[in-house]
Amino acid sequence: MSDYLWDKTGEADPEVERLEGLLGSLAHKAGRLELPPEVAAPARAGRPRLAWYAAAAALLLAALAGALVALRPAKLHEARVPAPQSSPAAVPSVAPSVTPEAPVVKEREEAPAVVEVVRHAPTRRRAPHARAKREGLSRRRAAPPEVLGTPGVLGTPEGLEVARVEEVEEVPRPARAVAAALGRGFSVRRQLFNALLLTSTKLKEVQRKTQGADAPASDERNRSR
């Protein structure tokens, strides 16, 4: 048998030669691909424009995001009600005051009361429904009894579990938010009181000092008279 089909040596089969002649024009030609002008022109023109638009849009978005972040008022940040578990640093802190007469000193002692209010709120459940259903029994035990509602409403134990879990998931959210907001409100109110007291104390101090400074001068004036 000839090796023509393998390495083009030996005797060629006429049928193979005929097919070679027919298909030869479609064989691979080394070189750069050249598209017809009607296909190539829009592609060349469109690609950079699209890239520019994309870059411009990205820059615009980045600028907008930056401006939003930079201009977002700190007020909203501070007004946001913090989670009860949040670190004390998240809440504007009022440490013991330096002035013995101002009741700011009591702030640290009173602070746990606010935390206590929040702690009494039932904890929020975020588990997916199926998982909650699976863990229904343990959740039911963990949840406070008043949250669970009336037992046995739906008859079957399975249905009852689901119903209970749903209640545990839904009810505490607003309660917790309200408790946190209340705690935050009272905390801010106390801070405001203390800040105003401190202001008053320091104003008095300034007055006292300036009056004290004036007094010897006026005494001297009187003496010279």
């Binding site: 700190a74 501070e78 801010v188 109110r189 104390t201 300036t210």
Partner: protein, 192 residues
């Protein structure tokens, strides 16, 4: 492409201008920046840091009763306030902070709009220094600053907005004259 670029640059310039304008507007009159004092917090034995802005003041106002006389007075007092910012640092020993650390605060207070109403210089003694500044816009008081310092303590109080100082003093005296339960302390009578 040039057209796109020029449009984009115009847009970017407009955005920058908007941002600058908003930042300038955000800088409230009557308010000073207290961030320069944060370094003192690390050295201080005790630090008080209160930041109550306008939103929080209104929020706290909702928790003040109209029934209790004091709370009603505080509610009236805070109506014109846009912020209360307090920094108080107490040091264990003298000389733990430098007078130059207050220079940024003083430089803000020497700017336009601020005027020093009272000042006391203790010449480095135990009495310390005390200054009281007011920011005015025409006849309206836009804010006040109390800057009190002695070798072991630094206090800067910035109240933004208008505040009735007489009412504040009267209210503070009333609160101080009573103990935690609201009973008169040592038989002190409550002022009307």
């Amino acid at each position: 492409m040039r057209k796109t670029l020029s449009t984009f640059s115009r847009l970017a310039a407009a955005l920058t201008l908007c941002a600058a304008a908003s930042t300038a507007a955000a800088q409230e009159s009557g308010r000073i920046r207290l961030e320069s004092l944060d370094a003192l917090g690390a050295k201080a034995d005790q630090a008080v840091n209160v930041n109550i802005d306008g939103i929080l003041i209104r929020f706290a106002g909702g928790f003040l009763s109209n029934e209790e006389a004091d709370e009603k007075e505080v509610k009236e007092l805070i109506t014109g306030l846009r912020g209360v910012y307090v920094r108080n640092y107490e040091f264990k020993a003298a000389g733990q902070y430098m007078e130059s650390e207050l220079s940024q605060i003083r430089s803000q207070l020497s700017g336009p709009g601020w005027s020093r109403v009272m000042s006391f210089r203790g010449r480095g003694g135990e009495m310390g220094d005390a200054e009281f500044y007011v920011a005015r816009a025409g006849e309206r008081v836009e804010g006040l600053v109390v800057l009190a310092s002695n070798p072991k303590e630094v206090t800067v109080i910035n109240i933004v907005g208008s505040v009735d100082l007489e009412k504040l003093q009267r209210l503070a005296d009333n609160i101080r004259s009573r103990d935690e339960d609201g009973k008169p302390k040592g038989g002190a009578t409550r002022k009307p």
